[in-house]
């Protein structure tokens, strides 16, 4: 391999991508198993599944865009939009089930007034639960988080394809980096979070530091991989 200024740019791109994934996870309203029973605010599944879902959709759309153009910005935008569509579709369909099947009013237990709509929250929180459904602020927060995740995924994928020229391998490698960052971030929030208004959101610098170290080790390794054997 040749080590030049491009290599450093690739390393930086991968690290920034990993950081975007790690911080983006903090925006997504993850409710875990309690949310699946409408006893907590957020989407009723784990962080890793949501991060993987949005990240992979972002990766796929970025890969599709990459097959037609080499323009970095178009690829990044497509990745972000792909992930946003995926998370928004999940939240919307989940909201229908919470509203029309479970019959729970959407309420956040972490704030008294929804920061976006200004609606009062505590009267609607059922006793013994920590909120239900996906209130407006969570929806907006989730969209931001998905955009960051998709952007991060595309940002990891783009330099990898430039380095080894193999889209399939780059995608798998990007998924590996993605999972490491998403899991570290989800450990940081202890499994559940409502969005940027949640007090737990203030812990994001921890995830930032962790993802920085972890992604740096992975990025240095990623740029050493060269296309060999006629791949």
């Amino acid at each position: 391999m040749t080590f030049d200024i491009n290599t450093i740019i690739y390393i930086l791109e991968i690290i920034v991508g990993g950081l975007l994934v790690g911080v983006g996870v903090h925006f997504v309203p993850v409710g875990g198993a309690p949310a699946a029973m409408a006893q907590a605010t957020g989407i009723g599944t784990g962080t890793v599944q949501l991060a993987a879902g949005s990240g992979l959709t972002g990766l796929l759309s970025a890969g599709l865009m990459m097959s037609v153009t080499d323009n970095l910005w178009a690829i990044l935008a497509t990745g972000a939009v792909g992930a946003m569509i995926m998370i928004d579709a999940t939240m919307l369909a989940g909201s229908w089930i919470y509203a029309y099947a479970v019959g729970a009013p959407f309420a956040s237990a972490k704030v008294n007034y929804d920061p976006i709509t200004g609606f009062s929250q505590p009267p609607y929180v059922a006793p013994g639960t920590v909120g239900q459904g996906i209130p407006t602020v969570c929806f907006v927060s989730g969209t931001i988080g998905a955009a960051m995740g998709g952007l991060g995924g595309a940002m990891i994928y783009y330099p990898l394809v430039q380095i080894n020229g193999n889209p399939a391998m780059s995608a798998i490698f990007a998924i590996g980096i993605f999972f490491v960052d998403a899991v570290l971030a989800s450990w940081n929030i202890q499994g559940t979070i409502e969005g940027f208004h949640d007090p737990k959101f203030k812990k994001w610098p921890n995830a930032f530091k962790s993802c920085l170290v972890a992604t740096a080790i992975l990025a240095v390794v990623a740029v050493l991989i060269t296309p060999i054997g006629g791949v």
């Binding site: 490698f173 590996g176 490491v180 989800s186 450990w187 962790s210 050493l224 060269t226 054997g229």
Partner: protein, 273 residues
């Protein structure tokens, strides 16, 4: 209800299990390679899948040790982390070995990198995130190594070769790595996820892990039908089925051993209970 019979159980120290896992898996992968190259066929690729099972058992034990402390995000996250670290390590190890001209040492290089990376992630989890789980570093080192060995073993089972170019062509470009990723992840994370609770027993959890590993071997066998041909693929499917069946029966007995009572619902004949 039938009289409770004595079922063969076991209890292995984590250190001992780690040695079995690492040595068994590495030796198994190289044994598979030697058998394949000496006989000039790819029939023995299934030995790679058997080698992966050693890694799986080590990983499943690490999952049950770490997750017993409670990590707040559910067991699947740690399994995905393990396989994520493993994927990166495998690609790196095989590629670097090939670049340095020592293609055969790829397994060792991947393993060493993954162990170091796992230790660093464990250190981060404890120091930066404040988990304060005393065995976190140790557990994640094990898990990272287990993920790497599982992926390597099953990669060999699909490609029948340790060469970087062959593995990329047969496993990565075909997308079969996604199957290894999820099936291998299941084999590592599912046992504790299925058996957790106050009465969780090591032997029951690990037997469950080998059982799921057997099913994963069936899946890789189906993939091998396309890459290695009918004979090698069929051998792998049959071996996977045999492993699954043997350990399923064992697991069923262990589950009955640990249950306070076993009553039939009428769906199964009484002789099956």
């Amino acid at each position: 209800m039938a009289e409770k019979t004595v079922v063969k159980g076991f209890k292995i120290e984590p250190k001992q299990l780690r040695i079995y896992g690492l040595v068994g898996s590495v030796v198994g992968i190289y044994l598979a390679y030697i058998l394949n190259s000496v006989t000039g066929t790819n029939i023995f690729s299934f030995v790679g899948a058997l080698a992966a099972l050693f890694g799986v058992v080590m990983g499943a034990n690490a999952v049950r040790r770490v997750c017993a402390y409670g990590i707040g995000t559910g067991v699947p996250s740690i399994g995905m982390l393990s396989l994520g670290m493993g994927t990166v390590a495998v690609l790196f190890g095989l590629n670097i070995a090939e670049q340095l001209g020592v293609g055969l040492l790829g397994v060792i290089l991947a393993l060493v990198y993954s162990l170091i990376f796992g230790y660093v992630v464990g250190l981060i989890a404890n120091r930066v995130m404040g988990f304060n789980i005393p065995i976190m570093e140790e557990g994640l080192t094990d898990l990272s190594g287990a993920g790497t060995l599982a992926i390597l073993g099953w990669c060999f089972a699909i490609s029948g070769s340790l060469a970087y170019a062959d593995i990329v062509k047969d496993v990565f470009n075909t997308g079969f790595l996604a199957i290894i990723f999820i099936c291998g992840g299941l084999a590592i994370l599912h046992p504790f996820n299925a058996n957790l609770g106050p009465d969780e027993k090591q032997d029951r959890t690990l037997v469950n892990g080998v059982m799921v590993g057997g099913m994963s071997t069936i899946a890789t066998g189906i993939c091998a039908l396309m890459t290695l041909g009918l004979a090698a693929g069929m051998v792998q499917i049959v071996v996977g089925f045999a492993i699954w069946y043997y350990f399923y029966v064992w697991y069923f007995r262990l589950a009955k051993r640990d249950a306070s009572a076993v009553v039939g619902t009428g769906l199964l004949p009484p002789s099956a209970l």
